[in-house]
Point group: C2
Amino acid sequence: MPHRSVAEITDLADRVLAKAGVPAEHAALQRDLLLDAEMRGIASHGLLRLPRLVERIANGVCDPLTKGVQDWTAPGVLKVDGRQGLGPVVAQAALDALAERAATQGVAIAAIANAQHIGMLGFYADRVAEAGKTLIAFSTSEALVHPWGGRRAMIGTNPIAIGMPTGDGIFMMDTATSVISMGEVHDHANRGASLPPGLVLDAEGNPTTDATRGRDGAIAPFGGAKGYALGLAFELLLTALAGSAIGRDVKGTLDSTMPANKADLFILIDTELAPVSAFLELLRAEAPAEGFDGVRIPGERGRALKQKAMDEGLTIADTVWQRLLDLAR
Amino acid sequence: MPHRSVAEITDLADRVLAKAGVPAEHAALQRDLLLDAEMRGIASHGLLRLPRLVERIANGVCDPLTKGVQDWTAPGVLKVDGRQGLGPVVAQAALDALAERAATQGVAIAAIANAQHIGMLGFYADRVAEAGKTLIAFSTSEALVHPWGGRRAMIGTNPIAIGMPTGDGIFMMDTATSVISMGEVHDHANRGASLPPGLVLDAEGNPTTDATRGRDGAIAPFGGAKGYALGLAFELLLTALAGSAIGRDVKGTLDSTMPANKADLFILIDTELAPVSAFLELLRAEAPAEGFDGVRIPGERGRALKQKAMDEGLTIADTVWQRLLDLAR
């Protein structure tokens, strides 16, 4: 896999998006989102997603022109009909509106239905935190996770991200409520690698360590019953607020033909914050447990990888690069 | 352990609180909170906590008269100085203010510092949901949980609860971000029972299954690195919003002499919700995995236990009952 500069990748992604009819302003957001994930080492949410998006535009289930339709149903509550717009375009428009509103209200929330995949939530949490505000972000997804005690996928991977200023920097964490991502299961299957026990069920709902069988089955919630409770709560909360689809009825981020009908939720808080960066310093100075080299602060590994990628470029899988070259032609 | 009726327990708790100088209205809330946990089978958050509270009042680190001081710093943001008031008294006063505000704003948040232990978060999430609104509730606690890769307790058990109407009932989940509670560790130690591997570290930061050693050490975050990230994010968020203490500086819910300086956070949402109860029906009907008798909905076991306790009474540990009888004299 050859090394590419960020400028080279940016240029190719922009050409692919332009060819697909995406206006430059929208293309820049979509490309930034995918490239950000790629640079942070989350390839499953990176440029791999671009060909699918182009197919969705071609199939008429993604509208690259809209920012969605916003409706303030109360001074602090924004409901957004994404109208199948690009995820980061609809999401950023909602965040811009929330930021303006929260500047006077202190807090504002947006429930978004019918947007394309908004990608790695940390992208938004990071940006809001850099702007000096706090964001709690959620999304639902296709059912990939089995309920605790169940046999098949009924619940989304339902991530949460939290971003906030710490006084001399930002804190950002972003985690799915599944124990691993379906991208990692596919990656293991493609490499012929097995998975540790307890991570996936096969199509019949029995435990397996075979990634190819897990691919057709279900992923465990992280942390057992507790992670299940959390993932389910997020699915219920987002679906109820956004009026979107739930469970196995969710479609449109892993296929090329169905409208996207999952939900996204942003809670944006704009108020005075006490500094907490000194506590992060204490954590970094903690003695490491056996088998660890230290206590890590969530988000920092990704931030360091991103900086390295910006300085030195990064490797993109050959198959992905070739596909993008074809799409740019 | 003899069976007691709810009326009998209520009467004794109220006499204890009256003797300690707690006004009837405040006593009713405090007793309801502890009794609710007791009835739901969470004895660690039940009447066990009452003697400590009485000691704290006697020691001047709990003021049973105050509801705290509320300050709306923005139309949607309430900052509360709990002034060492009783947890549920300060919390309920904040929730009442939020409910009134959210009725017009759609969303309002309260960050609370300097209140006593507010108890099981599910108590509040349940009540708000029954009133047709949505609550996301958080608290920090004394440092009892080790950061992932660390050796000693640096982070609170930092629970989250979510309550909401489902269309024909309510959903309520409440979970700590620790893999078990310190109450359960103590319970195992008292019974001479060992713990499964991976749950606690001893005072030197080494893994142990000996509950008596775990009692002096640290509890693991639930779900490893992910639960750590979540618990840490909650600790940073709540501390920054409430301007409260953090990490090992948090005191006042497990001792009888230090002012309580942890944080609590409520996000109350009052907006139209799509019904989601049909999805809970689907989950209940799922085929159980090997070793399970079905898929459970979070909160429902506790709700059933509570109903049973209200109908048939419940058992209170003899030591706790004797202590309460002494305190009522």
